[in-house]
Symmetry: C2
DNA sequence: CTTGACCCTGTACTTAGGTGCAGGGTTTAT
DNA sequence: ATAAACCCTGCACCTAAGTACAGGGTCAAG
């Protein structure tokens, strides 16, 4: 198995080099083996790890949560239901955000509805509504 | 019209004192009159201004955007349609966020669906899916 | 007239997720 | 052999929207 320098890894996983070092500091990526020169050396495993992080991020997980997910993943004592529970919690989280955004949307739509779009700002019903 | 100290204003508008000074630094609140001692003195107008900011924040506007909204509000040359346009832009912004969250939700639901919830993590389909 | 509550400025810190750079050392290609 | 490209550490910086002091001055009540 050929080893990757951090630059190669960054290209393969499509992330910034600094981001890899940042993930290492955050404990999301294990400390890699080092050459005598101090250069980091990675195996292909690390690409998967970074993809895991990216995908989890896309699903709305924070790096902190991803860390927890990785701990579950690496602990053989973990049951799959624990992972499932995390996913369900995130689902609720996302639903809460959607609900909140829908409330904003509704309020904004009501405001734009009462605004004719003509007339001076001094009589703008949107601005008036925001003040009281 | 009685004048308010910053502490009174903070209570009336239900914000932190530091937040008021922060808004002043950001230009969201005009620099108030000062007593000889240097103490800030506010009129009731400022309560309305802070409420405006809070309400706009609740609708999803950033402080930067609120600043723009306030500029429109204070410029007599502004037409109401410009305000309306800002509201519509924010509406699109919010809709985009909702759409994105719904995508996450869908992906998460699909993942939890394939997970029986039993079995070891080593065979967890959720974790597996995140890796590839 | 003193004590506690209030206010001032200026600065640093917070969360999240990075990015950028200075000042070095190492590898690789020519 | 040398230049370009790469890597190292450690630190500072970024956005957003504040919060938290420290070290001082002021105000109001008893």
């Amino acid at each position: 198995m050929e080893m990757l320098t951090i630059g190669k890894l960054a290209k393969r996983a499509d992330v910034n080099i600094e981001t890899i070092r940042y993930y290492e500091r955050r404990g999301l990526i294990p400390e890699p083996h080092r050459r005598d020169s101090g250069y980091r050396e990675y195996s292909d495993e690390t690409i998967k790890r970074i993809l895991f992080i990216k995908h989890a991020k896309d699903l709305g997980f924070s790096l902190k949560e991803i860390n927890e997910l990785l701990s579950l993943k690496l602990d053989p004592g973990t049951s799959c239901s624990e992972v499932r529970q995390k996913a369900e919690m995130k689902l609720e989280d996302i639903e809460g955000k959607i609900k909140n955004l829908r409330k904003m949307k509704k309020a904004l739509m009501e405001l734009t509805k009462v605004c004719s779009g003509s007339g001076p700002v001094s009589e703008c019903p949107i601005l008036e509504a925001l003040e009281k």
